[in-house]
Amino acid sequence: MINAVPPAAIFIIGAFLIPLLRGNLKSVYLLLLPVLGFINLLNIPHGMHWSFNFMDYTITFLRVDRLSLVFAYIFHIISFISILYALRLKDDLQHMAAVLYAGAALGVIFAGDFISLFIFWEVMAVTATYLIWARRTKASQSAGLRYFMVHVFGGLCLLSGIVINISNTGSIEFGYLGLNGLGTLLIFIGFGVNCAWPGIHTWLTDAYPESTITGTVFLSAFTTKCAIYALARGFPGTELLIWIGAIMAMFPIFFAVIENDLRRVLSYSLINQVGFMVVGIGIGTQLSINGATAHAFADILFKALLFMAMGAVMHQTGKINATDLGGLYKTMPLTCIFCMVGAASISAFPLFSAFATKSMVMEAVAKEHMSIIWFMLLFASAGVFHHAGIKIPFFAFFSHDSGIRTKEPPLNMLLAMGIAAFLCIFIGVYPTALYSILPYPVDYVPYTAPHVMAQLQLLFFSALAFTLLILSGIYPAEMSAINLDADLIYRKFAAAFLWFCNVPLTAFRNSIQTFSSRSISAIAKFAIDPLIVPELILKGIQLGIYKALASSTGTNPKIEYLEFKFNRLIKMRETGRYYGTDVPRRPVGLGVLISFVLIFFYVLIYMIS
């Protein structure tokens, strides 16, 4: 046994002590958790630790190698920053959910087997759902429920894939899988749901903007990056991922341009950035895997920074729609600067983080001579600057003056943004620090004259396009409206399905019910005196014949008598009694009748066969 505990344990056990503490002690405790975790992390040697036998299998809580360590470092850093940002929150449950969520994410990246991976995976889904619900608005309740349903679907895909895979291979070890059958395909899709692949991405853009100000900062860091880790572990070099990633990088930017809710704009750009990582994993070379992990590291920081800046705006003004904001640089200059650092980082300006990380993926694509993918990603690079790099700061802090005069957010929020901004610049200026912890050795140099020049031209001429479109009034005006996305399928079609169940299907059920209850009562009535029916028919025929004869030959006194008997029979059929008495006529009963019919058919079938 080694001299360290699984990092997940510190967070998960630590979370349950939060409600016991009050005031400053709680704040100190919350901040100490990730610090303690980080010190613990530094003591963990490479290898497999904390393994237990469970039935016939070996559960490994701590598989430590360079890939899991990169993610562990950034998860600890971002936990500290997010906890600092949320420090003033007076909601113990939310603090607990956030710390548990971070702990489960650490559990996922250190899980050496499928069973612990799946358990931590599901804990993440539950705690994340709570972080969305914690805003306690109607919109967040329903968005949280949709989030949960989609992740339950993803979790079930993952679980069924795991079960198939275990029965095929006999091992629960989680290592390289590759697409080679139904089991791995289901695992692949399970990871893909959390990775927000195109078509199954809408849980992200639907729910993240509805979460709390602080909750979204946590959410933006963990779920998608755990999926990136899992894909990098299980499916590096899967060619399908290259195309999935390129589409992910492309399509959200169109939605981001016309979106009004600025946190939703950031959610779209989150998918766009994850697309670059997915491409990197799909290529599967050492350079591209390095690029994907490095970009995940950088993305967690700048995306959290942008969400924190927008959260600060929301915290101070209560508004987040571009139509309601503008001119905030006047009263929130620090937040504005931090936001612009985040914007410059996500846009990959030289000296900011993504310049040193995203370019590794671009370089890997170019080295493989994938020209279409390269053009798609270059388009996405220009587009991300356009919507996240310019649109976010421009509409919140500049643009038309909304007349809102507020002040900077509380010190803890400013500090959290400051640390994230510092790290974004630090990685951009001194990428060697990040390169030294990547899974494979790095011999990539980001700062070459042509690369800097190319990137500056790309960005500044995208900015030129934005400027000219704004000045000419062609740029689409911000509107108070929502934009449909793939969640239409489960939001509208699910409602249509419910309507189908409620109206036509219910009517169908009702008609069957009416038909069967009517036929049963008819059978029951028939069964009171079944033999009277042939008697009635015979008497009716007899009466008819007599009447017909009478019309040609003249009146016949017997007709009156026959009519009297016929009417008496009808009365007796209705009551089941002899006419004028209480004595039952031939009470065969329903049971006997049914038995008779069944025996009849039995004999019939017996005779035929």
Partner: protein, 82 residues
């Protein structure tokens, strides 16, 4: 009533200054590009001002496609789902 404080971009001349600086920077970037030796993976990267043209065209296409194609298809009232 007290006059509200004038901020940086409340003065049109400051906005003009910013824009003039921006134009100058663009011209500078176009100029330097001609003197940089490139070692590209794709031959079109060697074309002069390739990245400037691509960035500009990409963003104009992005905005026009979003405004005139995507928005008419997907835009709904804010209470559409309620």
């Amino acid at each position: 009533m007290k006059e509200e404080k004038k901020y940086l971009f409340d003065k049109p001349e400051n906005v003009q200054r910013l824009l003039r600086g921006f134009w100058a920077l663009l011209i500078l970037l176009l100029g330097i590009d001609l003197f940089i030796s490139k070692h590209p993976y794709f031959h079109w990267e060697e074309w002069p001002e390739f990245y400037a043209v691509y960035g500009f065209v990409a963003c104009v296409c992005l905005v026009l496609a979003s405004k005139y194609i995507l928005r008419p298809i997907v835009k709904r009232k804010e209470n559409y789902y309620d």
